[in-house]
Point group: C2
């Protein structure tokens, strides 16, 4: 084979990206070399900076390059009193993009999973408990994923909230907006029936 | 929005990769930060090295970090006498992976396209002509893409070969192996009929 050493190792390195296999990696490497070397250099710099400088916020555990993230230091967000518990920083990103939530977040960086040895302290629930004890919150919104483990995690955190007398709520499960009823799976459909809301005129 | 500055610029930088849009870039950035920081650092290093050190082979114009590529300096390849003309280094990679060809290559790094102002010297045909004049080749295999421009380029190079009295051939066009006849377009099917080969027992 005639692949130059550096080209081969670039192809190999690109495969660490999710969803990138052998063929995509080849295509990416050749594209960058042939058409966008400056883009490749910029990407290398961004990667280096992000990988070495992005850490976790001391109060909510999301990604930030500072000590605290921009949401946690925002006084309007603090006044709001709501705190939304999510599994990952990507979920924070998704909720922020809806523009529907103006409280603070708490990022678990995972979910309870006893079989994998992931217990309450591994997902920072000691930190959450100490925040519930020291700060005043009007509501804890549990926005973990609608999976078996995500539901169990939400239920567990609900117990902690009850202990500190903070109202807790779970995000609604149901038919996705714009979806077709016949395409939706049975479990989701029964959730959407159980969680039905009265129309108010 | 609460995206940290470095995270935002990483997402933006990832979009220089072909086939990576906003959502994929987000997913890649979060994946690297959460699960594979060392992979991200390795990728950054590979990118920097590849972008700054990979150049073009002086005799065949393919990608290499040396003065000449491994194919051009290989004495067995030189003895073979065949030279395969392709549009891009990715084509060299594809042909090398078949294991069917043991001659040398010439990479055009493009194709003739008068409307875009790409003429013979832009795709290195002066270099190819001087090689045809100075070296001895048994055959020039024209493996440009089966497009209008690729065909025109092959025909043009065929003319140069005739000038230097070197036999030239064009790769076969036809039904892809494993494909179904009814799914193949008409032009390909007529090519496969015109280029039919007698069965020999």
């Amino acid at each position: 084979m005639s692949t130059p050493l550096l080209l081969g190792s670039l192809m190999e390195a690109l495969r660490c990206l999710p969803g990138v296999g052998l063929k995509s990696a080849q295509r990416m490497a050749f594209h960058l070399l042939q058409r966008d070397r400056s883009g490749g250099m910029r990407l290398a710099q961004s990667l280096t900076q992000a990988m070495s400088n992005i850490g976790h916020c001391v109060s909510c555990r999301t990604f930030t390059e500072e000590k605290s993230c921009t949401v946690c230091v925002n006084p309007y967000r603090q006044k709001n009193g709501q705190i939304c518990v999510v599994e990952s920083p990507a979920d924070v990103h998704a909720i922020e993009q809806t523009g529907q939530f103006s409280g603070r977040y708490f990022v678990l960086m995972g979910r309870l999973s006893p079989l994998d040895g992931i217990g309450p302290t591994d997902i920072g629930l000691d930190l959450l408990a100490s925040r519930l004890a020291s700060e005043t919150f009007s509501e804890v919104i549990l926005a973990t994923n609608p999976t078996v483990e995500g539901d169990a995690t939400a239920r567990y955190i609900g117990g902690i909230c009850q202990q500190y007398r903070v109202p807790a709520s779970r995000i609604a499960h149901g038919v996705p907006v714009g979806g077709e009823l016949e395409m939706v799976d049975g479990t989701t459909l029964s959730h959407s029936l159980i969680g039905r809301q009265r129309l108010i005129y």
